[in-house]
């Protein structure tokens, strides 16, 4: 099946269009329509009053990262370095240590993500074999007053819970 070719007629060659004025007045009528409508009733503007009204974040949105944990609260991460190796921005720094709770052999002693380096590509989430790192916090705007506040440690990453239910997250294509 070949690609469908849609021929779009060239415009602008008729006398009416070459005079410009008529077409200009048509365009001005359109813009004035918008102006007048919004002047009379500014509730119809296509804007979100942003800091007060937040946008709805879909499940597949790649927000700020978090580390998931087992039901007993221990970290799922086994410090396999898949995410660190995969990270194109090299923003993940893991230090592995011995794990004593019997769930695995290793666990991260420190797990740092530098959010100023991060490009939010989601490769760490893709790479993780144990679903230990996710980007489902729904945080789309990370702000801070100094550089250090953007360097997320393991405690910061574990503290935040996911913004969606497990069911929605699975359906969302994780």
């Amino acid at each position: 099946m070949g690609a469908k070719v849609k021929t779009i007629a060239r415009r602008g060659s008729t006398l009416q269009e070459r005079i410009f004025l008529i077409e200009i007045f048509k365009g001005m009528a359109t813009t004035f329509g918008h102006f007048w409508r919004n002047l009379l009733d500014n509730s119809k503007l296509y804007v979100r009053h942003y800091p007060e009204v937040k946008p709805e974040i879909p499940v597949r949105w790649r927000g700020r990262h978090r580390l998931t944990s087992h039901e007993d609260g221990s970290v799922k991460c086994v410090a396999c370095f898949m995410c660190q190796t995969n990270c194109p921005a090299q923003c993940i720094q893991i230090q592995a240590g011995e794990r004593l709770d019997g769930k695995a052999e290793k666990m991260p002693v420190s797990f740092n993500i530098d959010l100023l380096e991060c490009i939010y590509c989601g490769y760490c989430v893709e790479a993780c074999p144990l679903d230990a790192i996710r980007m489902d916090t729904g945080i789309y705007s990370v702000t801070g007053k100094d550089r250090e506040s953007f360097n997320m440690g393991i405690d910061d990453l574990l503290a935040k819970q996911g913004a969606f239910t497990e069911e929605d997250y699975k359906k969302g294509g994780a």
């Binding site: 001005m28 813009t31 500014n42 503007l45 296509y46 804007v47």
Partner: protein
């Protein structure tokens, strides 16, 4: 020279110097909010003083404060620093001074002495405007050249080429106007337009010379470097064109000069084509005779208009999301109070007009004030047209611009001169 003479001179000079400057703020505000509404967004409306946003006007103050306190940089590679600094001054100065010849009210008679109501009392009128409008382009060319920057010089060159191809149609359009009016004095031109054609149509330039109106308006757009003819800036092609090297207050002076030029050319279009300060159907003499009934009509009309305006403020100035004790509603209440206060003051003045003896100087002053208001309203409407066109049309390509100037506007302007002269000769 009596004290009154000195006062009148001070008033008229102050008016023609400060009104264009005040209108910078109005223009910028209209441009940004107008652009917002045309594009279905709201424009700057967050900057406030104690929660009072004045519909976005406070944003101008914020911008001004920012531009004043920014570092003023002259790059080391600029060799001709004198010309570099001179360029924005030329643009701004010529724009302000060219408003000097525009009359904003008819000649005012006080104590049997007549006072001309324009900044500079000279008769050359339109020629003064043409000369200074042409000269302001030197500022742009000089800025582009002295920036020692390829984008700057391209902008300057474009502006030079553009001004040549648009000054000529503009001049020729004015020639045909002058054939009709028979004078270059703008006050006489405005007075001419107060007459009625066939007894019921105002003899405005727009009605007598529609073709000249189109040519003049197009050329005026090109002259003020506004879209669709803002090739000298062309931010998508040559960054910012002629003012690419300018920062802080030097950029602001360019910016303000552009808006003053906008105001002046609106004032010029209004004076030449839309009757200047004349209220349609009411020439100055008629106005003086019916001043009192008019004051009475205004006394009734103003509160009615204000009532609907207050309703509009109340409807528009609210938060569009759930909010406790909406501060915008509180704000709107105060705006409405301020406007009602203003209305009360105007009403008292109108009452004083009604009670004073007819035929006196008070009536003359009242008529002059009415004409000033009419003039400013007309100019504001013309400014809106400029803004409206800017947010409707994309920029012309360079060759299209030259083609339009030389192959369409120039022949049309010449044709217009021939037709006008033929008609004028046939009628006289």
């Amino acid at each position: 020279m009596s004290l009154l003479d000195i006062l009148m001179i001070a008033i008229r000079v102050a008016f023609s110097a400060f009104v264009p400057l005040c209108f910078i703020a109005v223009c910028v505000w209209m441009e940004r909010r107008g652009a917002g509404f045309i594009q279905d967004r709201s424009g700057p409306n967050r900057a406030n003083i104690f929660g009072f946003r004045a519909a976005g006007l406070v944003q101008n103050l914020a911008d001004a404060a920012k531009l004043i306190f920014k570092e003023d940089i002259i790059s080391a590679h600029i060799k001709h620093k004198f010309f570099f600094v001179l360029a924005p001054i030329i643009v701004f100065f010529t724009a302000v001074v060219s408003f000097g010849v525009v009359p904003f009210a008819d000649t005012l008679v006080i104590n049997g002495k007549s006072y001309i109501m324009q900044g500079i009392p000279i008769d050359i009128g339109i020629l003064w405007f043409l000369a200074l409008a042409g000269f302001s382009v030197y500022g742009i060319i000089l800025a582009g050249w002295s920036s020692t920057n390829k984008y700057g010089i391209l902008g300057g060159l474009r502006s030079a080429a553009q001004v040549i191809s648009y000054e000529i149609p503009m001049g020729l359009a004015i020639v045909s106007l002058l054939i009709v009016y028979g004078t270059v004095n703008l006050n006489e031109i405005a007075r001419f337009q107060g007459e009625l054609l066939f007894g019921f149509i105002p003899m405005w330039g727009a009605i007598l010379q529609p073709l000249a109106l189109v040519i003049f308006v197009v050329a005026a757009f090109a002259e003020t470097n506004r879209t669709p003819f803002d090739l000298a800036e062309g931010e998508s092609e040559i960054v910012a064109g002629f003012h690419v090297e300018y920062s802080a207050m030097k950029f602001a002076v360019f910016f303000m000069g552009e808006y003053v030029a906008l105001f002046v050319s609106s004032a010029m279009i209004v004076t030449l084509f839309f009757g200047g300060y004349q209220i349609p159907f009411l020439a100055t003499k008629t106005l003086i005779t019916i001043a009192k009934p008019l004051a009475f009509v205004l006394m009734i009309g103003l509160p009615v208009g204000m009532y609907y305006f207050a309703g509009w403020i109340r409807r528009s100035n609210i938060s569009h999301y759930p909010r406790e004790n909406d501060p915008r509603a509180f704000e709107a209440k105060w705006y409405i109070r301020c406007f009602w206060g203003l209305i009360v003051i105007v009403e008292l003045l109108l009452l004083a007009i009604l009670l004073c003896q007819s035929g006196g100087d008070t009536i003359n002053i009242f008529v002059a004030l009415l004409q000033v208001c009419t003039f400013l309203v007309k100019v504001t409407m013309m400014l809106f047209v400029y803004i409206w066109v800017r947010w409707t049309l994309p920029r012309f390509r360079y060759d299209q611009l030259q083609k339009l100037g030389w192959q369409m506007l120039l022949p049309l302007a010449l044709l217009n001169i021939f037709i006008t002269s033929a008609v004028v000769v046939a009628l006289s």
